[in-house]
Symmetry: C2
Subunit: 250 residues, 2 copies
């Protein structure tokens, strides 16, 4: 599934951005705006927000991109911010759903951390536009919506933190590690790829998933967690790709 169609799927999973569609105006019995068309428009808005930035984009820009009059867009949304929310909430719900499969995995901390990193890297690379907007334009959302997205983000991050705590409890991750700070650092490290990753670039998402997983696991492993195989042996043993397939089936 390519990035564009996955982005569309992300938006489809988002119901809140589309509340106007199910509430046609009184006295207008004809059918409301087309949901498929709404998703196309949201996708077009995402491309423009990503290229120009949210605040530099006007509703007029979006209308021109999809070839309709500006007034037509108000059948779908009340404001430019509604498009932003549909994009960000859509991506957030997909990410949360995928990471909860990792949380449910019956596996050791190294495997779960590897699966977390692999799942996150695959999500970020396959939803590059929507996720970049999520990272860069959150402050443009109104307070209530921003807090809702932040709560979902906290639930997402907690999956990683729980894995780090589990690893410390089992003695395989460094007992001296600050799990909150490491969660922040590891996610920041992966999210930074949205600044340079390109679909036609030199690295595939699977290669990046492996390298990021090795980097994150190397940073947290304890001497006991190395099980006498050394750091190079540990890194060679880490393959984020197959393990994440396990996560997807969970």
């Amino acid at each position: 599934m390519d990035g564009r169609s996955r982005a569309l799927r992300a938006v489809r999973l988002s119901s809140e951005g589309a509340t106007h569609m199910t509430a046609p105006k009184r006295g207008r019995p004809r059918r409301g705006p087309d949901p498929e068309r709404f998703h196309e428009i949201v996708d077009a808005a995402a491309q423009i927000f990503h290229r120009k930035g949210y605040s530099a984009t006007s509703i007029q820009d979006i209308a021109e991109a999809v070839g309709v009059l500006k007034g037509s867009l108000y059948h779908y949304v009340k404001s430019k911010e509604d498009f932003l929310y549909a994009i960000i909430d859509g991506a957030t719900q997909v990410a949360l759903q995928e990471i909860q499969a990792v949380a449910r995995m019956e596996a050791g901390p190294v495997d779960k951390l590897t699966a977390f990193v692999g799942t996150h890297v695959r999500f970020a690379t396959s939803h590059l536009t929507a996720y970049s907007i999520r990272l860069r334009e959150m402050r443009e959302l109104g307070q209530e919506r921003r807090e809702k997205i932040q709560a979902d983000g906290a639930a997402y991050n907690k999956v990683m933190r729980d894995v780090l705590v589990q690893g410390q409890e089992q003695g395989v991750f460094d007992a001296g590690m600050d799990v909150d700070l490491m969660t922040t650092i590891a996610l920041g490290q992966m999210n930074a790829l949205t600044r340079w990753y390109r679909e036609d670039g030199p690295y595939t998402p699977e290669q990046l998933a492996d390298v990021f997983a090795r980097t994150v696991v190397s940073a947290v492993i304890s001497d006991r967690g190395l099980q006498g195989e050394g750091v190079e042996g540990l890194r060679r043993s880490i393959r984020a790709a197959p393990r994440a397939d396990v996560a997807a089936q969970a």
Copy 2:
């Protein structure tokens, strides 16, 4: 030195943003715009760009923040972009100067990498506003200026890449590591702190320098580089702070 005064120093080191100051108009023999005042205005512009974003900020916003008429600002700059360039180039020159002291260090790869990370983290935290603008608003610069900043950025990144290569050659860093990708990942990891670091937050720059240095070194160390002390022993031995003082004296 606090972040604000360092940011001012950064701007002082930038000459290109101030070209208008040394070229008063013909037939106007009175003294040109005051350089100190220019730096105050650039600092005010940086605060606003950081808070609102560059494209949402007008010259009028900057004029109001410093309490002058909009027209007065044109004694100092030709356009809003001139402010952006003064901010970004100023920060870039300071960063480059500091990291070149690391490049000149006579030390082993682990110590040099630790010093690189410590220097970078201290720079990013002490120039938080200007450096965040550098990371987020580069695309707003015209092509020539953007390419100049990118060339400086490439010279900066090469210092880290050279240290990684040196470590591989000496067998203390993992021979299987892709040094270009690791440079990108490690810098992205550190730069992500501009998204959450606050001067009044729970971590000091020195604490962060240590944690980032341990994270980066753990990710690249080879079995031979561990010298039998284990990963936990390696992490305990890493103190970015004192080593970076060495770098500053170099």
